[in-house]
């Protein structure tokens, strides 16, 4: 225990890393136990699979992805 404390309190970086590890562990374990939603941000973006040879399909997929601009409604 004393040895562990010594390692954690060695310098500012070890304190930071230890704090963040405990923080993330608690956050994730609690999330899994209580069945919180594990994914909230959908990073799929139609711009990412943009293909210059298939301009028509790109426009189609952009409109389908739920744009709220008035001209697409």
């Amino acid at each position: 225990m004393d040895q562990l404390k010594k390692i954690i309190l060695k310098d500012r970086y070890s304190v930071l890393v230890a704090t963040i590890i405990i923080y993330m562990t608690v956050l994730m374990v609690e999330g899994l136990l209580t069945g919180r939603e594990a994914r909230v941000i959908d990073l799929e973006n139609p711009y990412f699979d943009f293909d210059v040879r298939d301009w028509e399909r790109f426009r189609q997929s952009r409109d389908d992805s739920g744009s709220t601009s008035p001209d697409s409604a």
């Binding site: 923080y23 594990a38 994914r39």
Partner: protein, 283 residues
């Protein structure tokens, strides 16, 4: 624990207020002044018939409602103040354990028999309980001036203004809701407070970059390694603006004793403990 003796702790809080009087007092006072001047400007532009009508309408608008029932309406004009409070508190927290290291006065503070725990707790209590007191005081004066101005206007147009007094009572009750709201919001955001203090104590320069950068990096790493987004989930759980306003006291009690609030306090306590230990490293 010696460092938590009341007299000493009060001195620590006093220090925070004296050092940050610009953030805690001048900023909301200037906001109140700007809003007052803006309101007067609007009134001066309006035709007099509309003004008389408006004051009369205001004085009867809440007829039949008790001040307690009216109070939540008066949180509306307080919204700019709540936003200002958050902005100032974020700046304060990022500097709280950084500024004195930068200007080297930390060697004076640390040469006093004050524990790191006492120092960090004084910053947190300042945010949770002390800063809102100044906002409440400034809002009180703000509402008082508005009511006086409206009454004078009403009298000059020969309008019944008794209802305005009643309205002021409701505004005063709303200040209680304001205080409870900001108090609970600070507890609700305790993990954020802990996070900012941790990096305020850690960074050798630009704590804001560290605090933001590590957070984003961590969210990215979590997604990459575990395929989960509990960090993102945590943000999503705190972005709804309605969480930051309570409209009556039973609602406040529900908030305070909710599971999510308690879990947030636990997580916040972990980060705050980190900040306390981080404070050992001052050079």
């Amino acid at each position: 624990m010696n460092s938590l003796l009341p007299a000493q702790f009060v001195a620590l809080l006093r220090r925070e207020v004296l050092e940050n009087r610009t953030l805690f007092i001048a900023a909301p006072a200037v906001l109140a002044l700007v809003l007052l001047v803006f309101a007067l400007w609007i009134i001066s532009m309006a035709p007099s018939a509309r003004i008389a009508e408006g004051v009369e309408y205001l004085s009867i608008m809440f007829d039949g409602l008790s001040p307690a029932e009216m109070a939540p309406m008066f949180l509306m004009p307080a919204i700019p103040f709540i936003m200002m409070l958050y902005a100032c508190v974020i700046i304060y927290l990022l500097n709280a354990l950084y500024q004195d290291r930068k200007d080297l006065s930390v060697f004076f503070w640390q040469s006093m028999p004050v524990s790191n725990l006492g120092t960090v707790l004084s910053k947190i209590v300042t945010v949770i309980a002390v800063v809102p007191v100044f906002y409440v005081a400034i809002l009180f004066v703000f509402y008082l001036l508005v009511v006086i101005a409206l009454s004078l206007l009403g009298l000059s147009y020969d309008v019944q203004v008794a209802g305005l007094g009643y309205m002021f009572l409701a505004a005063v009750v709303s200040l209680l809701l304001f205080y409870v709201s900001t108090f609970l919001a600070a507890l609700w955001l305790l993990p954020t407070i802990g996070w900012l203090l941790l990096f305020s104590a850690f960074a050798k320069r630009t704590p804001v970059m560290w605090a933001l950068g590590v957070f984003i990096l961590l969210g990215f790493l979590e997604d990459l390694i575990f395929g989960t987004q509990f960090l993102g989930n945590w943000i999503e759980s705190r972005i709804n603006f309605r969480q930051y306003i309570v409209l009556d006291l039973p609602m406040a009690m529900d908030r305070l004793f909710s599971y999510d609030m308690l879990f947030g306090i636990v997580v916040g306590a972990i980060l705050i403990t980190g900040a306390v230990y981080m404070r050992r490293f001052v050079d």
